[in-house]
C-alpha cells in the first residue's frame, strides 16, 4: 500500500473524518470491553452517564477539565510554533509551588496584603515560574539547536524532585502528621465554587477566558502571525522579517505561563495545598488534548471536556461493573490515533496494489 497526496480535500471528507474517528474509537474500545466480559452497551451507557449524565457528573467532568484546558492550551500554543514543549507537567508543578510560596500560610500567617492583590500576585508568580522554566530549553533550542523535547521532558523529573525537596523541607506543612505536603493556601485566595455542593470552581471561567484570549492572539495579532509563520515555515518567516528567535522565546514564555497557571489554579480551586501526586499527568494529557483539538485554542476547550468526561465516566463505570478504568486511557489514546489517521486520510488517499 502507499499514500498518494490528494489534490484537494473534499468538504464531505473533512466532515466525515471526525465522525469516522469517533466510531472507530468506540469500536476498538468495545472489543476490549467485550473481551473483559462485560456488556458493551451497558458499559458505554454507564460511562456516558458517569461523565455527563447528571449535574454531579458534569461538575466532576468540568473540574477535571480545568487543568487539562490550561495544559492543552500550553501545548497547542507551543506546538503551533513547532516548539515541542513536553514539559507542561513540570511547569504545572513549579506554578503550583510558586502559588503556595506567595499565598501559603507560612508560619500560620502569610504576606500581609489585600486578598485581591495577593491573588493577582499569586497567579503572576505561577505564570512567571512556568515561563522561566521553559525559557532555558527555548533559548537552548533557538541558540544552539538543542532538542527541546529532550530538555523539557527531563526537566519534569528535576522539577518533581525539587517539589519533593520543598515539601519535605522549607514548605512542609508542620501539621500534616509527617506527610510530604505543603502548607495550605490562605483561605481568601481559594477560588469560589461555581455550583454549591460540587467541586467545580471559578478556575473554569479563567481557563475558558484564557482559551478565548489565546485564540484572539493567534488570529488577530502580529505575534499570532509570527507564531503561525515560524511554526509552518521558519525559513520563510525569517525571510519575511519575522524575528524568529524572539518569537520562539515569547511562545515559550506564553506556553510555560499557561502550564504554570494550571498548577496555581489547581491549588487555589481544588486541593488548597500542594502534594507530589496533585497531577495525574495533566501536563502530558495536555499534549493529547492539543492534538485532538488540531492545535486550535477553542478546540482545546471541547477536547479537554471530552477527555475529562471519559476519565470521570470510566471511574464511575468501573465502580458499577468490573471493567477497569484503564479503558479510559484506551479510549483517549485510540481517539487520538484515529483523529490523526482521519486527518491524514483527508489529505492523502491510500492505494492498494
Amino acid at each position: 500500500m502507499r499514500l498518494e497526496k490528494r489534490s484537494q480535500s473534499s468538504g464531505l471528507a473533512l466532515l466525515l473524518a471526525p465522525v469516522g474517528a469517533v466510531l472507530f474509537t468506540l469500536l476498538v474500545s468495545a472489543l476490549l470491553v467485550w473481551w473483559a466480559g462485560a456488556d458493551v452497551a451497558q458499559t458505554y451507557g454507564l460511562l456516558l452517564r458517569g461523565g455527563f449524565g447528571s449535574v454531579f457528573a458534569l461538575s466532576e467532568t468540568f473540574t477535571r477539565a480545568i487543568p487539562l484546558m490550561l495544559t492543552g492550551l500550553a501545548a497547542a500554543v507551543a506546538f503551533r510554533a513547532r516548539l515541542f514543549n513536553i514539559g507542561a507537567e513540570g511547569q504545572l508543578y513549579v506554578g503550583a509551588l510558586a502559588a503556595v510560596a506567595v499565598g501559603g500560610l507560612h508560619g500560620g500567617t502569610g504576606f500581609d496584603l489585600p486578598a485581591p492583590l495577593l491573588f493577582g500576585l499569586m497567579l503572576l508568580a505561577a505564570a512567571l515560574a512556568g515561563a522561566l522554566l521553559l525559557l532555558g530549553p527555548a533559548l537552548l533550542k533557538a541558540r544552539l539547536g538543542v532538542d527541546e523535547v529532550v530538555t523539557t521532558l527531563l526537566l519534569n523529573f528535576i522539577v518533581l524532585l525539587l517539589v519533593s525537596l520543598m515539601l519535605d523541607g522549607p514548605m512542609k506543612d508542620p501539621t500534616a502528621m509527617g506527610w510530604p505536603q505543603s502548607v495550605a493556601l490562605m483561605g481568601e485566595l481559594e477560588l469560589s465554587k461555581l455550583v454549591a455542593q460540587t467541586r467545580v470552581h471559578s478556575g473554569l471561567l479563567i481557563a475558558a477566558a484564557l482559551a478565548v484570549a489565546v485564540w484572539v492572539l493567534m488570529k488577530y495579532t502580529v505575534l499570532g502571525f509570527d507564531i503561525r509563520a515560524v511554526g509552518a515555515n521558519a525559513r520563510a518567516a525569517a525571510f519575511a522579517g519575522v524575528p524568529v528567535t524572539r518569537t520562539v522565546v515569547l511562545v515559550a514564555m506564553l506556553s510555560g505561563a499557561l502550564a504554570g497557571l494550571a498548577g496555581a489554579i489547581e491549588v487555589a480551586g481544588r486541593t488548597s495545598y500542594l502534594t507530589l501526586d496533585m497531577s495525574p499527568g495533566y501536563g502530558y494529557s495536555g499534549i493529547v488534548i492539543a492534538m485532538l483539538a488540531g492545535l486550535h485554542p477553542l478546540g482545546v476547550v471541547a477536547a479537554s471536556v471530552f477527555v475529562a468526561g471519559v476519565l470521570v465516566g470510566a471511574d464511575s463505570m468501573s465502580r458499577a461493573i468490573g471493567v477497569p478504568t484503564y479503558i479510559a486511557d484506551v479510549i483517549v489514546a485510540a481517539s487520538l490515533i484515529s483523529v490523526l489517521v482521519a486527518t491524514l486520510l483527508t489529505q492523502y488517499r491510500v492505494r492498494w496494489k
Binding site: 498518494e4 497526496k5 490528494r6 489534490s7 484537494q8 488577530y220 495579532t221 502580529v222 505575534l223 499570532g224 502571525f225 503561525r228 509563520a229 509552518a232 515555515n233 525559513r235 520563510a236 518567516a237 525569517a238 525571510f239 519575511a240 522579517g241 519575522v242 524575528p243 492505494r351 496494489k353
Partner: protein, 528 residues
C-alpha cells in the same frame, strides 16, 4: 524507425479533478532519443513516474521489449531495462563512486561484496560509453557534472537499455552539457534508447531525433527534430504564440544604489569571497554561474538573511541593514530562489503571505494588532495587478501553482502600500516613489511556464526602466544574456567583474562558469 523498444498505450492518470495524463500513447525506437517537451505541470513527470512504477496509471498499458510491464513496480521497471536519472541526484555523498553504483544492486544477505568484479564491470561500462570517472573517488568531492555521470553509470551498470533523463542540463555549465550530449550520442550509437525530458527548446532540437510535446496532460504533437523549429515547438507547448523577450538595453543608468566593497561571508554551505560590485539605478546586472558557487550567499546577503563577515555593503550611501524587516521599508524588493521553502509560508493564506514582509509597518498593524481590512485590501490589489489566480486571498498559498506563487511574490515585492510614504525617507536612488530602489531576483523564472517567464521578465525590465537597480542571479544563461545590461560570472564564491553584456562571448561565460578565466584575478573589478 526500427522496432519499438517501448510502447505506452493510452495512458491516463487523474489526481482528483486534475487529469495529469490524458490518453497518451508513445513509442520509443531502439537507438532513438525521444524528447519529452512540455511546461511545468504538463504531465511529463507523471508520465515517467508511471513508466518507472512510482505511480499506477488509471488506464493504459506499457510494453517494454515486447513484454508487458507490471504496473506500479519500480523493481520490475529496473529489471526490464529502464533506468532513470533524476534531476536531483540520489547519491550518497559519503560513499565512493563504486559503492554508490553497486548500492542496491547487491543481494542483501551476502557477507562480502564482490568489489573487484564490480569494479571491472563498472570500468567496462564507463569505457564503453565514454563516461570516465574514478571508481574510488568520494561522491561528495565530485562536481555536479561528474555526479550526473555517476548517476548515468549507475543506471547503465544495472543493465538499463532505456534511459530516462529528467531535466539533465539544469545543473550543468554549457560545456558540461555538450559533454553530456556527446555521451548520449555514444549511447544511442550502441543501440540504447533515451527519453530526454526538458523544457529548453534549443537543447531539445539539438539532442533528440523525435520530439513529443505535452500540454495540460495531453500529447499535442509529435515531430521529427529535423522538421520543426523552436517557434513551432513553443507554439505547441503553450498553445498560443509567445513573444520571446527581446533584449532591450538600459536607457538611463543612474547613480549607484547598492555597492559591495570586498565583501566576504562566513564559511557555510556556500560563501562569498572578496566580492565587489556596484548596482546602479536603471540597469540590470545579471550574475551567471552554476548553482552552488556562492549565488545563495550573495542573494541572502542582499536580502538581509545573511551577514557579511568582512567588507562593506552599502545601500544608498548607508550600511545595508542586516535584517529583512529593516530592508523592505527602504525599498529593497526581494525574490528568493525557492518560493516554496523561503518565499511563502505555504500553510498560511494568500493574504497573510502578501503582507508578511510589511506586516510590521504602520500601514498593516497598530499596537501589535493586525489591520486586517487594510491587509486584505492590499493583498487583493496585488492579486489584481499581478493577475494571481487560483482561489482568492483565503486559500493557503501552497494551493497556488508555481507561476501564481511567483506572481504573488513579485507583486508583494514590487507593490508598496498606499499610505506608507512615511516609512521610507525618499530613497535617493529611485526617481519614482512607488518603485523599489533595489530588486534582488534570485532565479525568478525557475520552473515557470513560458507565459509566466515572459511576465516575470517583463516586470523586471519595467521596474528597471522605472529606475530600479536590479540584481538578477540566474542559472539560465539565456536569461542572463537576454535581461542583463551588465553580466558577471560567479565561481567558487568569487565574483568576476560585471562587464556589459555585449562584451561577453557565450563561450567565455561558459569557461568562466567553470572557473577558467582569462582575467588574472577576479578581484580586479573592472567596473567604473
Amino acid at each position: 524507425m526500427s522496432d519499438p523498444v517501448l510502447q505506452l498505450q493510452h495512458i491516463s492518470k487523474r489526481f482528483g479533478t486534475l487529469l495529469a495524463n490524458d490518453d497518451i500513447s508513445l513509442t520509443l525506437g531502439a537507438g532513438e532519443v525521444l524528447a519529452l517537451l512540455g511546461e511545468n505541470g504538463a504531465g511529463k513527470s507523471t508520465l515517467v513516474s508511471i513508466l518507472f512504477g512510482h505511480y499506477i496509471a488509471d488506464a493504459g498499458s506499457i510494453t517494454v521489449f515486447g513484454q508487458p510491464l507490471p504496473r506500479g513496480d519500480p523493481k520490475a521497471a529496473l529489471a526490464a531495462g529502464i533506468g532513470m536519472v533524476h534531476q536531483h541526484f540520489t547519491l550518497a555523498d559519503n560513499l565512493s563512486v563504486l559503492d554508490n553504483v553497486i548500492l542496491g544492486s547487491e543481494p542483501l544477505w551476502q557477507l562480502f561484496t564482490r568489489r573487484s568484479a564490480a569494479r571491472a564491470r563498472l570500468q567496462a561500462v564507463a569505457q564503453r560509453f565514454g563516461l570516465g570517472v574514478d571508481p574510488e573517488a568520494l561522491v561528495g568531492r565530485l562536481s555536479v557534472g561528474e555526479r550526473q555521470r555517476v548517476e548515468i553509470l549507475k543506471a547503465l551498470y544495472r543493465g538499463a537499455r532505456i534511459l530516462i533523463l529528467d531535466e539533465p542540463t539544469a545543473v550543468l555549465t554549457p560545456q558540461e552539457s555538450e559533454a553530456l550530449f556527446a555521451v548520449l550520442g555514444q549511447m544511442v550509437a550502441q543501440g540504447l534508447s533515451i527519453i530526454f525530458i526538458s523544457h529548453k527548446l534549443g537543447e531539445v532540437l539539438r539532442v533528440s531525433q523525435r520530439i513529443a510535446v505535452l500540454r495540460a496532460g495531453r500529447l499535442v504533437a509529435q515531430a521529427q527534430a529535423a522538421d520543426t523549429s523552436q517557434a513551432q515547438l513553443a507554439l505547441w507547448m503553450v498553445g498560443h504564440a509567445v513573444e520571446a523577450p527581446q533584449r532591450r538595453p538600459a536607457q538611463a543608468v543612474g547613480s549607484p544604489v547598492c555597492v559591495l566593497d570586498n565583501v566576504s561571508t562566513a564559511p557555510a554551505r556556500e560563501r562569498l569571497l572578496h566580492a565587489s560590485l556596484s548596482l546602479h539605478a536603471g540597469e540590470i546586472v545579471a550574475i551567471a554561474g552554476v548553482s552552488g558557487n556562492g549565488q545563495v550567499a550573495l542573494a541572502e546577503l542582499l536580502c538581509g538573511t545573511r551577514a557579511a563577515s568582512a567588507g562593506r555593503v552599502q545601500l544608498l550611501g548607508r550600511p545595508l541593514p542586516p535584517h529583512p524587516a529593516q530592508l523592505v521599508p527602504l525599498g529593497v524588493a526581494r525574490i528568493p530562489e525557492d518560493r516554496h521553502a523561503v518565499g511563502l509560508v505555504g500553510d498560511l493564506p494568500v493574504w497573510e503571505n502578501a503582507v508578511s514582509e510589511r506586516l510590521r509597518s504602520p500601514a498593516f498593524s497598530r499596537w501589535g494588532w493586525v489591520r486586517r481590512a487594510a491587509a486584505r485590501a492590499y493583498a487583493e490589489r496585488i492579486m489584481r495587478a499581478f493577475d494571481v489566480r487560483g482561489g482568492g486571498p483565503l486559500v493557503p498559498a501552497r494551493a497556488l501553482s508555481g507561476g501564481n506563487m511567483q506572481k504573488l511574490i513579485l507583486g508583494r515585492a514590487l507593490t508598496r502600500p498606499k499610505h506608507s510614504a512615511p516609512d521610507s525617507p525618499s530613497p535617493g536612488g529611485a526617481a519614482n516613489p512607488g518603485v523599489p530602489c533595489l530588486i534582488v531576483a534570485h532565479q525568478p523564472t525557475w520552473g515557470l511556464d513560458i507565459g509566466a517567464v515572459a511576465y516575470v521578465q517583463a516586470q523586471l525590465i519595467a521596474a528597471r526602466d522605472a529606475g530600479a537597480a536590479v540584481l538578477l542571479i540566474s542559472d539560465d544563461l539565456d536569461e542572463v544574456l537576454t535581461l542583463g545590461d551588465r553580466v558577471a560570472v560567479i565561481h567558487a564564491g568569487r565574483l568576476g567583474p560585471a562587464r556589459p553584456a555585449a562584451d561577453w562571448q557565450r563561450e567565455a561565460i561558459g569557461l568562466a562558469m567553470a572557473g577558467i578565466t582569462g582575467i588574472p584575478d577576479a578581484a580586479q573589478e573592472a567596473h567604473t
